[in-house]
């Protein structure tokens, strides 16, 4: 269970998140939508303790991670897997070494067992036989799949996705969405997907939250959000530019 209470965050004089509160139950799949630069990724990084809030609390299984130092956070982070927007693969390592990273660091397995787990996880993300490739040889979609394989190999309870389909063509985006759903259903994990891809949010989320003007503006099922008549929600869901921002 993840609970965020009255979270506030500023960078310098710029307020990014203002009094954010929500709760995510185990095995739930939540899509956080909002405009680019609206603080979605910042919110996600607070959930895993990569950023410290100016005020407020973040509770993971009833433990307040805001009060923890970096070493104490390591224990809590074993519950998480995170897929980064740019994949953030370790470029000095092969695909297999990237995927096996968490296993090697935290589990005492033989090389044969590690190789077996890596092959099975790469198979799950539809990238069999890519163990010896370097990250530089992979396409954007493949890199995100490897990032996902790295995040799920040690079977975390919660998987965070930061813009998993950004920069990908619609076909690859569709395959990534299916992959997120497959991971959610097979591993029974709690998923939090930050995205501004409405189609993706609708498909992967059991619940959708709209971050607008530094606050959670709307929070409901995909049906509630996508059939809402609220002007702000409608504008975002339909992808209509603000008249003031439209360049003629």
């Amino acid at each position: 269970m993840i609970e965020v209470r009255h979270l506030k965050k500023s960078f310098g004089a710029q307020l990014i998140l203002d009094d954010i509160s929500f709760r995510i139950e185990n095995s739930e799949s939540v899509a956080i939508i909002g405009r680019s630069g609206g603080g979605k990724s910042v919110l996600l990084k607070h959930i895993i303790g990569l950023l410290q809030p100016d005020a407020g609390d973040v509770l993971v299984d009833d433990e307040n991670i805001v009060a923890m130092n970096e070493r104490q956070l390591l224990r809590v982070r074993r519950k998480f897997g995170m897929v980064f927007q740019g994949a953030a693969l370790f470029d000095s390592m092969t695909v297999a070494e990237n995927v096996a990273f968490g296993l090697r660091r935290h589990e005492h397995l033989t090389e044969a067992e590690i190789a077996k787990r890596v092959a099975a996880t790469l198979d799950m993300v539809d990238l069999p036989g890519t163990e010896n490739k370097n990250p530089a040889e992979l396409s954007g979609g493949m890199r995100k799949r490897v990032g996902l394989a790295r995040a799920i190999i040690y079977e975390p309870q919660i998987v965070l996705y930061d813009e998993p389909t950004t920069g990908l063509d619609p076909i690859v985006s569709d395959s990534i969405d299916k992959l997120i759903i497959r991971v959610r259903d097979h591993l029974n994990v709690t998923s939090i997907v930050v995205t501004h891809d409405m189609r993706s949010a609708r498909r992967v989320g059991n619940r959708v939250m709209l971050l607008h003007e530094k606050k959670i503006y709307a929070n409901g099922t995909p049906e509630e959000i996508f059939t809402s008549h609220d002007a702000v929600v409608r504008q975002f869901v339909d992808g209509v530019a603000d008249a003031k921002e439209t360049i003629i």
């Binding site: 990569l50 970096e70 390591l74 982070r77 980064f84 927007q85 693969l89 370790f90 990273f101 935290h106």
Partner: protein, 280 residues
């Protein structure tokens, strides 16, 4: 009495806060803050190293990168420093008929000063820059955040192996530089300048002491720590984008070099006195 003491403490705290506010945003304030952060990084790295959380494989790779890959620069620097020192010393000593003292001067200089300092400066240029660039690039491409999400402390994984490897490699490179410098000076002195080899060798052994080598090695351990810590710190705290990585790389080399030169003076003063006290 207790109230007075508490009031005194409060006043002292307020004065400290005022002093901090006064320094905030100034060059001195930034410098002091940076110094504080490097000290905290050093403390964290040493504490982590003592718990043996690092991977031996990573340490070996870093020893290879810092030690083996720095061979060419250290050999060339050591050899030519020894050669030019021998030639210059000979030209001055020859005027007062002290030719055979040339190698003694070279030996003492190479062991206690030039060997450790020049080796450290060359390694700072090559390795310090590489460490800052590698870790800086990892930071701007979110690889450090990825490490943290994989429940791995960046200090355990990135800083500790480099710090240990640097502390092992620098003394070895320094010994190599001393040997090559003395050998090169012997070659120049005896074969090019015509110094009588037996007396030159005898004088060198007479005036060079164990303490000179020991001081050089102790210094090199400190310099290894300085290079690794400043390189890692600059990488971990680098700004965004290619410009941030470029600046971190430059600053790592400049700050390491300046710190090495400043520390060299203080280490010389302290270690010489220590050798006298301990009778080494």
């Amino acid at each position: 009495m207790r109230l007075n003491s508490r009031a005194g403490k409060t006043q002292a705290c307020l004065l400290n806060l005022e002093a901090m506010n006064f320094l905030a945003g100034t060059w001195l304030g930034e410098w002091l803050a940076g110094l504080g952060r490097i000290t905290l990084l050093a403390r964290e790295a040493i504490a982590s190293a003592l718990t043996f959380k690092f991977s031996r494989r990573d340490v070996l790779y870093q020893i290879y990168f810092i030690g083996i890959k720095s061979q060419s620069v250290v050999l060339v620097t050591g050899a030519f420093t020894g050669m030019v020192l021998a030639a210059q010393t000979y030209f001055q000593f020859h005027k007062v008929k002290m030719d055979t003292a040339t190698l003694a001067v070279v030996s003492v200089s190479m062991c206690s000063e030039l060997g450790p300092v020049l080796t450290a400066l060359m390694v700072a240029g090559r390795v310090g820059a590489a460490i800052a660039a590698e870790i800086g690039t990892m930071r701007v491409t979110e690889q450090i955040d990825a490490l943290r999400t994989l429940a791995t402390h960046p200090v355990d994984y990135l800083v500790v192996p480099r710090l240990i490897a640097s502390n092992i490699a620098l003394p070895l490179l320094t010994i190599e530089s001393m040997c090559v410098g003395i050998a090169a000076s012997y070659f120049v002195g005896v074969y090019l300048l015509g110094i009588e080899p037996t007396y030159a060798w005898w004088n060198m052994l007479k005036y060079s002491h164990d303490s000179d080598v020991l001081i050089g090695l102790v210094k090199s351990v400190f310099y290894g720590g300085i290079i690794a810590l400043i390189g890692c710190y600059k990488g971990l705290s680098c700004g965004v984008g290619a410009q941030g990585v470029g600046r971190a790389t430059t600053e790592a080399v400049v700050y390491s070099s300046i710190t090495i030169l400043i520390c060299n003076f203080f280490l010389t003063m302290v270690l010489e006195q220590l050798c006298v006290i301990l009778g080494i």
